[in-house]
Symmetry: C2
Subunit: 630 residues, 2 copies
């Protein structure tokens, strides 16, 4: 309920007042009474609702009522009211209904909404939502839509939220009164408001063709430069459309909430600022940045075409076509010469590191997301973001830069889990883990690279008489290795011991933070080796770090039930690669089909694999983020 | 419950392991089994607790159990365990109990606390608290204790929180194992940890005398420069004391929570980093910055001695002595020539404005706090902070700088309310409002300056034949004004109309945000006048702003039931100032005694009054901030 506004009367004058429907007036009778007044009476037309506080004992207000220190007249929405201190007169002229209403979560602009001034998470929550306009409607000279302060295309309006100002009142406001829309200085960094000049403009196709005219049809109302601006009062019963544009995602210093206010200003006298006599507020929450896990259905697959990745492209095309999805090939010149496709493709957000501390851990590939999980009674229906960092105990080490970590934590809806990935040369968590869909249990399995599982497989081959089977057979320029040679390499065994410890540490964190059991995890037979990392800045600080010994099968692309797996070139038994056979047997039980893609020369030798070299746009979650219980 | 740690076994070797009590081990039997293994059995000493997953059908674990893909052995804290895959052997050597525990809210360091790793608000909440060490223990060359990275005095330890590391384990850790304390990079900006070298040091008075030795007794463990450091393992049953020092209050980019971690590191092999096998965490919340309202009992009153405030000092000394409190007089040279004493006195916090947008609204006097209130079912047992800003609808205007506003909002426990004070020349909310204690209702009254109440009083004087009574009588250099002259000044009436509108707008906000009724508010008869504000930067932007017409009685000092009120020098009736009489009559009903203090020349003429020229240290709230329900 809106509290009534304090309203002053002066017994010397007849005063006019504009009264906003729903917002009553509270007249302090004592403060303004002539000195020595002891009684007062009230007279009004029949359409007026009013009450007297404290409630007088007499039933008729026409008889004199004792004037007390706290005597007050409460006027509830009225057409005309007359009351007197010994003969003075007061009129209430006109009335106005003002509602600022945003499109609600369900896409409906309600007539009015008691909750629009606040925002609440959950299925019983309420409040409007706002997208960050981080794509670009332009075909040429591309820059983010949020970086230009004009509406350039009708399609751009679809990235904004509709807000409607409904008025119902006199044909015009009394002299000096005006409507003002305003935002706080803090919110102005995160939002921009445009106005539709008239509601019929969309149907005028001639105007649409004329860009300049078009821009004029959507004038900028509020921005970082203009925190407050008068908006026209159309009069009678009318609606005015506004388009609200989000400019930034939630971040460490921005909780995502934005308030847009509309005030009716009353003039006091020439040269003095007007005072607001009524304010209506609509609250929006900016949609968080959300990642999509492997268990969601793919829509499009993106890969990069380079001078040397013909084999890889051929394999990917087969897999994607077979799976029934679209493959989009980006030419390297469009991708700034970068073959690593793990980056958002349309709609993107950048964080500038404050210091020059950007490392390989700041790449995508080190930023993944789990399928939906439940842990300790807490639901994560959108999964949890997974990032790789240095050990918390490390006195030195590489980390994902702080501004990116802060950004990820600020999104809230996919609360991040920090894993330990600094033991890897490239340092990406997708080098030792992935998720695949499963028909049972939690709907997925966590796949972990496991040197122990690798050694077990190689020992089995040796025991069964395949000690002379060769790794890397058929690859030119690559030294072949027998199973016996691998098992006899004590140094390699120690290195893999260390790698297994590092992965096990992550395994425990994942079990704890995602609520997984051992049955939810599958160990993949993958060996690693340690290489000396060169530290360009400090030669003394070189460290041993891990890379996959053969193509890292866990670094796969997941397209529904079809997996695109780096071809491991393992030892052959009866003409079939023992690693592929093991991989297929582990995945078959889940109804998944394995396609092995040769990325050896083009990606593996450059320390990446299939997953690093591709990107998948997936169907969004059915679950709506605002339904999360926070 | 702590999840067991993944532990690897190798069937070729006998391995040692350090097992932390409470943290079990999970041995994946299949992954490490010799190839082709189909059964396993377990043998252990009687003191060992273990279980097999999935649970075998046989009751005796000595008989061979089928080895499945997910077979696991769970070892719960043990002295020695032996198990075999066809004859191999594994020992568990030694055990350690490690607890990192902070002093809890009740001041007790519990033996261990299941909740210490999290923090929860409310009377049923839990979690340790931490002070910001924002005072200075030094007598000379003062700087904040938080700005020096050493413990300089025993008394400094009282500003820190005690944290205890309890260990119970073997006399020494096996070769290569070590204990490390660590914090995240983000937390390191907000906290520092010192260690007490030995627990008996406090009693060694000789060492206390030797500053250098003393510093060495409290070595710095963690800081912004050192995020991770080894701490000694004392062995046996031992306790080690740590002192945790808060460096900053909650702010826009800091929620106040800090985690301090202790990890036991296991060596892998030479040249490779150790991996943490057990981590214990204590979570602290930094105490917010809290203001004390007028309704709390005073302890000390601070005023400044200047060359021209003898009259004021005399009045204050009378009042304070009569009230039974201590008056502390600061000489102007200590106060940087500033007679305005509204600023924290010991323990202080500064915010640097990012742009050169500091205005008069950034002074204390524009930052007040309400008594405890309840509104719409929400309790504010510590009251709400009140600040003055420009109208939200203003297209220009002065504001409290954003970094200060952000800081105030981040404290959370006294959620701020923004009032409109930019209509005043000085722009401080204490120019139109104050709170006094009351025996009834909500325990206080809100006092508001009211030109309407002032005009009512003056009209009454005129009606009763005192139209020729004079304002400012007895003040030299001040032009006297009669009641008739004041009432005949139409311009002054219009100006006061405007001022009353501005105060009424604030009245409505205060009623709404503090849940007040009209009965909780008392209007004081105070007139204002508008003067032209000079804008040094832009002469064209000069604006009319308000100053009190006579000493602003609402700008008072509240010492329990005694009020120190600016002497208004109002028109006299029968030898008594009519304004003082009215003020006394309004306050008497609340059991409050009024002392009028002459601040005319020294403060009023410089646009401030008693409240601006003094400061009061009050008893803290009985209510503990961590008991707030958030």
């Amino acid at each position: 309920m809106m509290l009534p506004r304090t309203f002053r009367v002066d017994y010397d004058h007849v005063t006019s007042v504009v009264c906003v429907v729903g917002a009553g007036l509270n007249v302090n009778l004592n403060r303004s009474a002539p000195p020595g007044s002891e009684f007062f009476s009230v007279k009004s037309t029949a359409t007026v609702q009013y009450s007297i506080s404290p409630r007088p004992q007499e039933t008729s207000h026409l008889s004199p009522i004792p004037l007390k220190g706290n005597s007050a007249l409460l006027i509830h929405m009225s057409r005309a009211i007359v009351f007197r201190y010994y003969g003075e007169k007061k009129d209430v002229l006109g009335r106005a209904l003002l509602h600022l209403t945003a499109v609600d979560r369900d896409g409906v602009v309600e007539k009015n909404n008691a909750n629009k001034g606040s925002w609440k998470w959950g299925s019983n929550g309420h409040g409007a939502i706002l997208l960050v306009n981080c794509d670009s409607e332009r075909m040429f000279l591309k820059k983010l839509d949020s970086e230009q302060d004009q509406v350039s295309k009708v399609s751009d309006l679809k990235d904004m939220s509709l807000m409607v100002l409904r008025t119902k009142g006199p044909a015009k406001l009394p002299e000096g009164y005006k409507l003002t829309m305003h935002i706080s200085q803090g919110d102005a960094e995160s939002v921009r408001v445009f106005r539709a000049r008239s509601s019929g403009v969309e149907s005028n196709s001639l105007q649409k063709l004329l860009f300049n005219l078009f821009v004029k049809e959507y004038p900028l109302v509020l921005s970082n430069e203009v925190l407050s601006q008068e908006v026209p009062y159309l009069g009678g019963v009318s609606e005015m459309k506004f388009y609200v544009e989000g400019l930034r995602f939630p971040d460490k210093d921005f909780d995502g909430l934005i308030s847009i206010n509309l005030s009716l200003l009353e003039p006091i006298s020439d040269g003095l600022p007007e005072t607001p006599i009524f304010t209506d507020t609509a609250v929006f929450r900016v949609a968080p940045w959300i990642m999509t896990p492997n268990t969601l259905q793919p829509v499009e697959v993106f890969v990069c075409c380079t001078s040397d990745n013909y084999q890889f492209l051929k394999g990917m095309r087969n897999l994607v076509t077979k799976s029934g999805y679209k493959l989009k090939i980006c030419h390297e010149y469009m991708n700034r010469g970068d073959r690593w496709m793990q980056g958002p493709d349309f709609g993107y957000v950048t964080r500038l590191a404050q210091r020059e501390d950007v490392s390989s851990l700041d790449s995508f590939g080190n930023l993944e997301v789990s399928p939906p999980v439940t842990f300790n009674g807490k639901n994560y229906p959108l999964g949890r973001i997974l990032i790789g960092v240095a050990f918390p105990t490390a006195t030195k080490g590489r980390n994902m830069t702080k501004v990116v970590q802060d950004f990820l934590w600020a999104q809230k809806v996919q609360e991040p889990v920090a894993l330990f990935s600094d033991w890897l040369l490239v340092g990406h968590i997708d080098e030792f883990m992935s998720f695949v869909p499963a028909p049972d249990r939690k709907g997925f399995r966590l796949l972990l690279a496991s040197p122990d599982a690798g050694y077990k497989l190689f020992r089995g081959l040796q025991r069964d008489g395949h000690g002379q089977a060769k790794l890397f057979e058929g690859l030119k320029d690559e030294e072949q290795q027998t199973v016996d040679e691998i098992l006899n390499d004590k140094g390699l065994a120690a290195e893999n011991n260390y790698v297994q410890s590092c992965i096990d540490w992550n395994r425990d964190v994942l079990k704890r933070e995602l609520g997984l059991d051992d049955e939810d995890i599958i160990d993949l037979p993958i060996l690693f080796k340690l290489v000396m990392e060169e530290n360009d800045n400090n030669k003394a600080e070189t460290e041993l770090r891990a890379v996959a010994y053969y193509p890292d099968m866990v670094n796969m692309i997941v397209l529904g039930k079809n997996l695109g797996i780096p071809k491991p070139f393992g030892p052959k038994v009866n003409g079939r690669c023992a690693l592929e056979v093991e991989m297929c047997s582990l995945m078959e039980g889940l109804g998944l089909s394995c396609t092995f893609i040769d990325d050896f020369a083009s990606y593996h030798k450059q320390l990446g694999e299939v997953h690093c070299g591709s990107n998948v746009r997936r169907e969004p979650f059915d679950f709506k983020w605002w339904n999360l219980e926070m």
